[in-house]
C-alpha cells in the first residue's frame, strides 16, 4: 500500500470526514440557516479536490488502495475500503456534484426566517456519506449496508417535502427496497459460494467460471438491484414519481448520484458477469427499451422537471445498455457517459429549479419569454442541453459518438449491431427532440401542445420575471461549462476513465477518446441524429398531436399502486383466517399447538434417563395440598375479590416451594411480587363489578377439557424431561467459580448482575417500558370510575370514618416505614453476598410505599408523591452508565471491582455491579410507585382530563 504513508489522507479518514461534514453543517444550520450550504459545499469540495489530487498518484502505482478496519471479525465482516479508478470516478462525481448542489441549496432554499433546514442538510449530506461508503466499500456486507442507506436517505428526502410527497416516497421506497432485497440475496449467494466477504476476492473467485448456474443467478439479482436503483424499465416509474422532492434533491440524488449507484454496481460486478448471456440480454434489452421509452415520455410531458426525470431514465438506459455490451471499450464508454450525464443533468436540474423559483412555474405551457428576461439561465440551459443532445464539441457529443460505436459492434451476429445501432439512433433523435422541447418550451412561447390538462393552474401564470442572482447561477453554470471544456480536452480524462474502465473490465485499459475520430459511421449517424432531431423540432406541433393520445390505458405508477394495495389486502386476507374478536380463540390456539407439540415430543422421544437423586421430601406433598386448596376454589369462585385472594395465596405457596427447592432469592422475590400484585389488582378491582361474567356451561366444559389436557401434559412432560440428570455444566461452573470471578458469594445474584448483566439490563428495560405503557395508556384513555360499595350495613360504625379505620395501619406505618426503607437499602448492599439484591430490595421498598399508601385516610391525600417517571428513566440510565466502566476492562457491563477498607477494619468489596443493581432498584421501585399513583385514584377522574386540557389551551391563547 504505497499511499498510506504519514500525511496522506486515508480512505477511512475520507469516510469519517464526510460524516464530519454532516455534523458540522447541521450545527451550522442552527446559526446561519441555509447559508450552511456553503459550509457543506466547502467541505465536500475540499474532499473532492483531495481525492482528485490522489488520482494521478493512484493510477501510477498499483491502481488500487485498500484499508481494513475490523468490524465483526467472527463473521469476517470488516470496514474494508478500496479506491481504484472506478471508485475514484464515482467519488469525484458524488463529492463534486454534491459540493455544487450544496452551494446551490444555499440560495435555493428559503432563508432562515422561514426555516433552518437542518433536516434537509442532514439527509443530503448523510446521503453523500452513504454514496462515499458505497463506492469505497470492498466488503459485500458493507456494500449492502451503504446501498440501503442511500435508499433510506432518498426516502426521507422525498418524504419530508410535504403531505403530497408521502405516497411517492413510499412507492419509491418499495421499488428501491425491492432492489435492495435482490442485492441482499446476491450478496448472501456470493458469500456462500465463494466463501469470502471481500468484494475483490469474491470477484476473483473461479466459481464464476465453474458454476454457470450460480453466475446466472447472481447476474439476474445484481441486474435487478441496479435496475430498480437506476430506474430501468420496468422499474422506471419511481424516478418521475420522486420529482415531488425539492429540486436540489432531484439534481443530486435523482440525476447525478443515487441513480448512478445502480450503474456503479453493474460496473463493479462486470469483471465477473460481463459476457454472460443472461447479463447481456437483460441489460441491453432493458437499457435500450428504457432509453427509447424515457425519451418518448419526455416528449409528452409539460412539467420541465418531469421531462428531466424521464430524460434521466432514458440516459441511464443508454449507460445500462453499454454495460450490457460488456467489452472493455464499452465499459469505458459507460464510465465516460456517466460523467458526462452527471455534469449536464445536474446543471439542467439546477436550472429548472431556478426557473421554478423565479417564474413560479415549471410548466412549459405557462412559461414564455424567459429567454429575454433570464438570459444567463437560458445560456446555461442551452450549454447543458446541447451536451445532452450530443452536439459537437461538448462532452456529451463524445460520449454519444462512442455509444453509437459500441452499439454498432456489440459482438455476435451483424443484424444485432444493426438493430442496436438503429435503436440507439432513435433514442438519440428523441433526446435531441426533447432537448428542443425543454429549450423552446421553457424559454420561448412554444407551449408543447394546445391541449390544456385539468391540472394546469392558469392562475400561476408568471408575470414579471427577473434573472436570478449569481449565488444560484454559478453552481448550475460550472458543470455545464465543464462539459464544454472537457469536450475538446477529453484527453485529460483518459487516465481516470481508462482506469475506471479497466477496473470494470478486470483488465488494464487505455482510454483513447477523441473529439474527432475521422469520417466514421458514428459521425454519419451523429449527423443523421442532428438532422432528424432538427426536423422533429421544426415539426413539433405535428409531433405533439401525435403524442397527445395515450399509449396505454394505465401508467406504471398505477401498476405499483395496485401491487402495493393488492399486497396489503392480500395480507389482510391471510390475516382474516385467524382474525376474530373472540379472545379465547386467540388464547386457546397456542395451548392446543403446544399440546400437539408435547404429544409429538413424548411420542418421538420415549427414551429418557433414570431419575437421579433421592425421592422427594414429604413437604412437597404438603405444598401440593396447599396449592390444591387455593387454586381449585380460585377457579370455581365467581367473586373477583375471592379469586384474587386465592390466587395470591397460591402465589405464596409457590414461594414456599421455591424456598423448599433451595431458591431463596427466588422465593423472596415471589413473596414480595405476590404481595404487590394483590395490592395492584385490588386497586383495579375497585372499578369493576363484584362478580365475574357468566359463561355458557358448554364453554365451561370445553375449556375445562382443554385445561385438563394441558395440565396432564404439563405433568407428564415435567416427569419425563426433568430430574434425570445431575446439575448442568453451567450451573456447576457458577457454583465453583462465581466467587473467584466476581467476589460475590450469592451466586444467583452474581449471575444476574455480573455474568448475565446484559440480560438483566434487558429485563430492567422491559420494566421501564411497562411503566411507560401503563402511564401512556392511562393518559390516553379514560379510566373506569370507582364503584361505590354498598356501605349501609356498616352505618354508624367506625368503618365509615376514613380517618379512624386507617388508624391501625397508620400507627404501624409510622415505625415500619423507616425500618422497611433501611431494610431495603441493606438488602441492596448485601445482595452480592447474601440473599437480597436489586430486585428484592426494590420490592421490599415497594411494600413500604404500599404501606404508606394504604395508611392514608383517602385516595386524595395518600399518595406517594415521588417522581416515578424520572425514577423509571433513572433506572435505565443508571444501568447504562454503570456498564460503561466495563469497557475499560473488557466489555459493556463487565463489573469493575474496588475493595474499600472499612474504618472498623476489613473491607467492603465494592463493585460496579452494585451500581447496576441500583438501576434495577430504581426501575422496580418506580413501577410500583407508578402503579400506586396511577391506579390508586390520585389521578384525575375521567372526563376531567379533556376539559382541563381545554382550559389550559384557552389560557395560553392570547
Amino acid at each position: 500500500m504505497p499511499l498510506q504513508g504519514p500525511g496522506v489522507v486515508t480512505l477511512t479518514a475520507l469516510l469519517v470526514a464526510t460524516l464530519a461534514v454532516v455534523v458540522i453543517t447541521m450545527v451550522a444550520t442552527m446559526a446561519i440557516g441555509r447559508n450552511a450550504g456553503w459550509v457543506a459545499a466547502g467541505g465536500l469540495a475540499v474532499l473532492a479536490v483531495l481525492v482528485g489530487l490522489r488520482v494521478p498518484e493512484l493510477l501510477e502505482g498499483s491502481g488500487v488502495v485498500r484499508e481494513v478496519v475490523p468490524w465483526m471479525p467472527t463473521l469476517d465482516v470488516a470496514v474494508r475500503l478500496r479506491l481504484d479508478g472506478l471508485a475514484a470516478l464515482f467519488l469525484l462525481i458524488v463529492l463534486g456534484i454534491g459540493a455544487l448542489v450544496m452551494a446551490y441549496s444555499a440560495r435555493y432554499l428559503s432563508d432562515m426566517t422561514v426555516h433552518r433546514h437542518t433536516g434537509y442538510f442532514a439527509w443530503m449530506l448523510l446521503f453523500a456519506f452513504s454514496m462515499t461508503g458505497l463506492v469505497l466499500a470492498d466488503d459485500l456486507v458493507l456494500l449492502f449496508v451503504f446501498w440501503e442507506l442511500t435508499t433510506l436517505c432518498s426516502f426521507f428526502l422525498i418524504n419530508r417535502s410535504g403531505r403530497r410527497a408521502s405516497a411517492p416516497a413510499v412507492r419509491t421506497l418499495l421499488v428501491t427496497a425491492m432492489g435492495g432485497l435482490a442485492l441482499l440475496f446476491a450478496v448472501v449467494l456470493i458469500i456462500a459460494r465463494t466463501g469470502t466477504t471481500v468484494v475483490s476476492d469474491a470477484l476473483a473467485s473461479d466459481a464464476w467460471q465453474t458454476d454457470p448456474g450460480f453466475t446466472a443467478a447472481v447476474a439476474v439479482l445484481i441486474a435487478l438491484a441496479a435496475m430498480t436503483k437506476s430506474a430501468q424499465f420496468p422499474f422506471h416509474m419511481w424516478l418521475p414519481d420522486a420529482m415531488v422532492a425539492p429540486t436540489p434533491v432531484s439534481a443530486y440524488l435523482h440525476a447525478a448520484a443515487m441513480v448512478k449507484a445502480g450503474i456503479y454496481l453493474l460496473l463493479l460486478f462486470s469483471p465477473a458477469l460481463a459476457g454472460t448471456v443472461v447479463w447481456q440480454s437483460i441489460l441491453v434489452t432493458s437499457g435500450l427499451i428504457t432509453a427509447i421509452m424515457g425519451a418518448v415520455f419526455a416528449l409528452r410531458r409539460f412539467d420541465l422537471k418531469e421531462i428531466m426525470a424521464y430524460s434521466t431514465v432514458s440516459q441511464l438506459g443508454f449507460i445500462v445498455a453499454l454495460i450490457g455490451v460488456g467489452a472493455p471499450s464499452a465499459l469505458a464508454t459507460a464510465a465516460l457517459y456517466t460523467l458526462a450525464h452527471a455534469l449536464f443533468k445536474s446543471a439542467l436540474f439546477m436550472v429548472v429549479g431556478i426557473v421554478d423559483q423565479r417564474a413560479g412555474s415549471r410548466d412549459i405551457r405557462l412559461l414564455r419569454g424567459l429567454r429575454r428576461s433570464m438570459p444567463v439561465t437560458f445560456w446555461v440551459t442551452l450549454l447543458a442541453g446541447l451536451s445532452m443532445a450530443g452536439v459537437f464539441p461538448l462532452l456529451g457529443f463524445i460520449s454519444k459518438e462512442y455509444l453509437l460505436g459500441q452499439m454498432l459492434e456489440p459482438g455476435g451476429p451483424a443484424w444485432l449491431g444493426l438493430l442496436l445501432a438503429t435503436t440507439a439512433v432513435i433514442g438519440a433523435t428523441a433526446t435531441f427532440a426533447y432537448t428542443g422541447r425543454i429549450l423552446l418550451g421553457g424559454f420561448t412561447d412554444y407551449r408543447g401542445s394546445e391541449r390544456v390538462d385539468d391540472d394546469l393552474d392558469t392562475h400561476r401564470m408568471p408575470q414579471f420575471v427577473t434573472e436570478a442572482g449569481p449565488g444560484i447561477l454559478v453552481p448550475a453554470l460550472l458543470p455545464a461549462l465543464l462539459g464544454l471544456v472537457l469536450g475538446p480536452a477529453v484527453v485529460w480524462l483518459h487516465p481516470l476513465i481508462g482506469a475506471a474502465g479497466g477496473a470494470a473490465a478486470g483488465t488494464p485499459y487505455d482510454a483513447t477518446f477523441a473529439l474527432f475520430g475521422g469520417l466514421t459511421v458514428e459521425l454519419a449517424l451523429s449527423f443523421t441524429i442532428i438532422v432528424l432531431g432538427l426536423v422533429a423540432i421544426s415539426r413539433r406541433r405535428a409531433l405533439d398531436r401525435f403524442f397527445e393520445r395515450r399509449i396505454l390505458r394505465f401508467t406504471a405508477i398505477d401498476v405499483v399502486e395496485r401491487i402495493r394495495t393488492g399486497s396489503i389486502s392480500l395480507g389482510a386476507r391471510v390475516g382474516d383466517l385467524t382474525r376474530t374478536d373472540a379472545q379465547p380463540l386467540h388464547l386457546a390456539t397456542p395451548w392446543v399447538l403446544l399440546g400437539i407439540t408435547a404429544v409429538a415430543a413424548i411420542a418421538l422421544a420415549p427414551v429418557v434417563g433414570p431419575v437421579v437423586g433421592p425421592g422427594e421430601p414429604r413437604t412437597d406433598a404438603l405444598l401440593l395440598a396447599l396449592l390444591l386448596a387455593t387454586v381449585v376454589p380460585a377457579v370455581i369462585t365467581r367473586s373477583r375479590l375471592t379469586a384474587l385472594i386465592l390466587v395470591g395465596g397460591a402465589g405464596f405457596v409457590v414461594a414456599l416451594w421455591f424456598f423448599a427447592l433451595g431458591a431463596i432469592d427466588v422465593g423472596l422475590t415471589q413473596l414480595l411480587v405476590e404481595l404487590l400484585t394483590v395490592v395492584a389488582l385490588v386497586l383495579v378491582l375497585r372499578r369493576l363489578p363484584a362478580v365475574f361474567h357468566r359463561v355458557r356451561r358448554s364453554r365451561q366444559f370445553v375449556t375445562a377439557a382443554i385445561a385438563l389436557g394441558v395440565g396432564a401434559l404439563a405433568t407428564v412432560v415435567t416427569l419425563a424431561f426433568t430430574g434425570r440428570r445431575d446439575i448442568s455444566a453451567a450451573g456447576q461452573y457458577f457454583l465453583d467459580e462465581a466467587y473467584t470471578d466476581t467476589g460475590g458469594t450469592n451466586i444467583v445474584n452474581t449471575i444476574l448482575v455480573d455474568y448475565r448483566a446484559l440480560d438483566t439490563f434487558g429485563e430492567l428495560t422491559v420494566i421501564a417500558v411497562a411503566g411507560i405503557v401503563l402511564m401512556g395508556v392511562l393518559a390516553a384513555r379514560p379510566i373506569l370510575p370507582e364503584l361505590t360499595p354498598d356501605l349501609r350495613p356498616w352505618a354508624g360504625t367506625a368503618l365509615l370514618r376514613e380517618a379512624d379505620n386507617t388508624l391501625p395501619i397508620r400507627v404501624v406505618a409510622r415505625w415500619a416505614a423507616p425500618v422497611v426503607i433501611v431494610l431495603s437499602i441493606y438488602l441492596l448492599l448485601r445482595g452480592h453476598y447474601e440473599p437480597g439484591g436489586g430486585f428484592i430490595a426494590a420490592l421490599v421498598g415497594g411494600t413500604g410505599f404500599a404501606l404508606a399508601y394504604l395508611g392514608a385516610s383517602s385516595d386524595r391525600q395518600a399518595p406517594v408523591r415521588w417522581p416515578y417517571r424520572a425514577l423509571l428513566s433513572a433506572g435505565v440510565v443508571v444501568g447504562v452508565v454503570s456498564g460503561i466502566g466495563g469497557y475499560i476492562v473488557g466489555s459493556f457491563l463487565k463489573p469493575v471491582r474496588v475493595d474499600i477498607p472499612l474504618p472498623w477494619g476489613g473491607e467492603y468489596g465494592f463493585t460496579s455491579a452494585l451500581i447496576f443493581d441500583l438501576g434495577v432498584y430504581f426501575a422496580v421501585v418506580a413501577i410500583i410507585i407508578a402503579v400506586l399513583n396511577e391506579l390508586g385514584g390520585v389521578r384525575d377522574r375521567p372526563g376531567e382530563i379533556p376539559e382541563r386540557a381545554g382550559v389550559r389551551r384557552a389560557e395560553v391563547a392570547p
Binding site: D581, A582, P584, G613, E616, P617, D620, A621, L623, L624, V631, A634, V635, R640, A643, W657, F658, L661, A663, I664, D665, V666, T669, Q670, L676, T677, A680, L681, L683, V684, L685, P689, H693, R694, V695, T703, A707, G711, A714, T718, T722, G723, I727, G731, F734, Y739, N746, I747, I751, V766, I767, A770, L774, V777, L778, R781, P782, I783, L784, I927
Partner: protein
C-alpha cells in the same frame, strides 16, 4: 411427583381461567401460568439438590443457580406485564369484559365503545 402434579395443576387452572371472559380472569390465569412455568424452569435444573447456592462450604448438594436467576427476573417481568394488563382492564368504557354478552341481555361493550 408432587412438583410435577403441582405444575400440572397450575397450568390447568391457568389455562382454564385464561379461556374465560373478562380481563381479570385472564390476568389471574396468566399469573398462575407464570407460576407453572417458573416451577418448571426450576425443575429443569434438577430437584434432587435442594441447598441454596451460596459460595463457601459444601456445594455438593447446592441447587443449580442458573434457572434460579432466570426465574427471578421472570417473576419481576411477569409482575410488570400483570400491571400493564391490569391497567388495560380498567380503561375505556363498560367493564373488563372481553366479549359481547352471549344472550344480548346487557349492552354489548363493543357497541358502547363505538358510540362513545
Amino acid at each position: 411427583m408432587s412438583l410435577a402434579l403441582g405444575i400440572g395443576l397450575l397450568a390447568a387452572a391457568g389455562v382454564y381461567l385464561v379461556l374465560q371472559r373478562g380481563m381479570i380472569r385472564i390476568i389471574l390465569g396468566f399469573v398462575l401460568l407464570t407460576h407453572a412455568v417458573n416451577l418448571l424452569l426450576i425443575a429443569a435444573g434438577g430437584v434432587a439438590r435442594r441447598d441454596a447456592p451460596f459460595f463457601g462450604g459444601d456445594t455438593s448438594s447446592a441447587a443449580d443457580p442458573l434457572p434460579q436467576a432466570f426465574v427471578l427476573t421472570a417473576i419481576v417481568i411477569a409482575f410488570a406485564i400483570t400491571v400493564v394488563m391490569a391497567t388495560l382492564a380498567v380503561v375505556g368504557r363498560g367493564d373488563d369484559d372481553t366479549e359481547p354478552p352471549p344472550s344480548g341481555d346487557e349492552a354489548p361493550s363493543a357497541t358502547s365503545e363505538a358510540a362513545s
